[in-house]
Chain length 334, copies 2
DNA sequence: GGCCTGATCTGCAACGATGTATGCCAACAG
DNA sequence: CTGTTGGCATACATCGTTGCAGATCAGGCC
């Protein structure tokens, strides 16, 4: 059926191994021989069978990427960047959607899927560090998204706390004093939610503004979560003059709900988010948010994972690089 | 290093082939033997080496998906649906981003990448039918997105023309008479742009409204394309009371630009799109658009491709199923 | 008892590539 | 003229799995 090296070898009148050598750029091959082989490859339309190569070499040149769902813009954009970074380094990416369910996440960590990849990029949402460590195999693993934080695991960090503080400070400087937070429970300490909440509270404290737990509204990190939470907040009668969505989806949902209810943004209520997804630039009004350094995150994560894959020495100290953030001030909170 | 069938066989005291038989659910195995093998698998933590299986069986159980970029919401959402559909049928999806460049698209069709997949789902943007046919190998191929249409190729169609006509008719019924179209040249005949434009013109004709070429503005199918085109339109002084973006990104970009310029939507100018991406529901005002049946498209495409992969008979008549659309009337054009 | 049938299990070869070891030959030194 | 070196090519084993073709054995039947 398919053309194999053997066919090429026969056509070129050389041994199979010589064809292999040509393909792998082995140094000592007579130009004439090489040309003959290349011609034969061209003529027969030979293509390397990557499956066979993988079996022989033990490497697949594929990275696994486990995330909740590509329909979530931040993940889609991150996935896009990750794929570009991986591609540039000669790796492909096999995406697996966990749907934010621990069973799926566990399956992705352990499952057969893994034997197809040389290593895994994982954005955990449902599993905690213990579970990840016990479920993970021996293959390289780099975490993203920091719902999980643990000194034993390689991961790429973002400046959740500092960035959230920067957003909050910006809102405070705009004269806002009653800043609602969407997407956390008031007690949250860990994970992106906890860290961002902590940044928020730190900024309030620094400005000498009292923290009101009633302004912290837990909800799903999705557009409708943000919309619902905002609706509840409005209905509850709690006063607020700004909304900080712990991610852009929440902020955009909030923005939508506020406008539907006839509130003026930013005049009455300012809105800010976190993630700087593309959509936020084109919202109306455009959304003030934090760019967490998505491209840098993708680059670092891919680089770190590939380094782990390609380095021989099994024992390496854990690395946790941190990406730089940037505040993007737009219309929703000028 | 890794545990192989051989290790399991030794541990269970059976032949390697029996282990293989157990794993593949071969019928005639004594329950006791089966149990012993399963226990050994469990104990040793054996996992099938999918690479070896692929080499032996000639199947990878992976589908390739070639699209421009995951950061484009419609593609991300479609990819998500495709992955779910494929997953449900025991296939994984390997995504390749073409960046809308013909070289990349060609490479994806021909490249080594292909040897990793059993078949390809392809959303062509740069290549035409001729190029696709000549570049494609022998592996099953199903097209999506219909920038290309050709009776020789399997593809999943959407009702571009009918849906665009429905949108236009809706705008006309809302009393609009000067409907600008973003994302096409007035002469376009083929592709999504041409078909949608044709639907637009058909609806105008049916309502007895004259077509003004000045209202048709070509631009990139992206948010900033829509924003720029709208800006140009406004600056040119051409009168219009509605904007039909040939996809949602264009419409959202237009919406943004209109609001920035202080135009009231929908009072002064109505806006409608095409795709029904998630974002459109939460835009402010929410966007009237057409849902092209994304989930159905994904399901059909995956099903068709897998059918091609698994059917023995090479010669099958070309199939071009068509997904049903639905008009979603929201605030931007009530 | 010998033969047949069907359940159960086994061994060998093969998928297509690459690593290792080695062979061959020309050129060159002694 | 022989021995050595180094460029170039080859044969063979191997990666982990599955298809194919048996081998083995118990029970049923004449």
């Amino acid at each position: 059926m398919a053309v194999t090296m053997n066919d090429v070898a026969r056509a070129a009148g050389v041994s199979l191994k010589t064809v292999s050598n040509v393909i792998n750029n082995y140094e000592f091959i007579r130009p004439a021989t090489k040309q003959r082989v290349l011609d034969a490859i061209d003529e027969l339309g030979y293509e390397t069978n990557l499956t066979a190569r993988s079996l022989r070499s033990g490497k697949t040149s594929m990275l696994g990427l486990v995330l909740a769902d590509l329909s979530i813009p931040y993940y889609a954009e991150l996935a896009s960047d990750i794929m570009k970074a991986a591609w540039a380094r000669g790796y492909r990416v096999l995406v697996e959607q966990s749907g934010n369910e621990s069973e799926h996440e566990k399956a992705a960590l352990q499952g057969q899927f893994r034997s197809l990849t040389d290593g895994l990029l994982f954005i955990p949402l449902a599993l905690d560090a213990e579970q990840i460590i016990s479920a993970a195999g021996k293959k390289p693993l780099v975490l993203l998204g920091e719902f999980v934080q643990d000194p034993r695991l390689d991961m790429v960090l973002i400046q959740n706390q500092e960035a959230a503080a920067a957003v909050t400070t910006h809102l405070l400087e705009g004269g806002r004093r009653r800043i609602a937070v969407l997407g956390a429970h008031d007690g949250d300490e860990a994970g992106s939610n906890g860290l961002r909440l902590r940044g928020y509270r730190a900024a309030l404290a620094a400005a000498g503004v009292a923290h009101d737990p009633a302004l912290v509204v837990p909800c799903d990190w999705r557009r409708d979560g943000g919309a619902d939470a905002t609706a509840r907040l409005l209905d509850s009668g709690v006063e607020f003059d700004a909304v900080f969505g712990l991610n852009d989806a929440l902020a955009l949902g909030a923005l939508h709900e506020l406008l539907v209810r006839g509130r003026k943004v930013p005049e009455e209520i300012a809105v800010a988010g976190f993630d700087d997804i593309d959509e936020s630039r084109f919202a109306s009004p455009s959304l003030t948010t934090v760019a967490p350094g998505r491209t840098e995150i993708a680059e670092r994560a891919v680089e770190l994972l590939i380094q782990r894959i390609e380095s021989k020495d099994a024992v390496a100290t854990v690395e946790q690089p941190e990406a730089a953030f940037e505040l993007r001030i737009r219309q929703s909170a000028p």
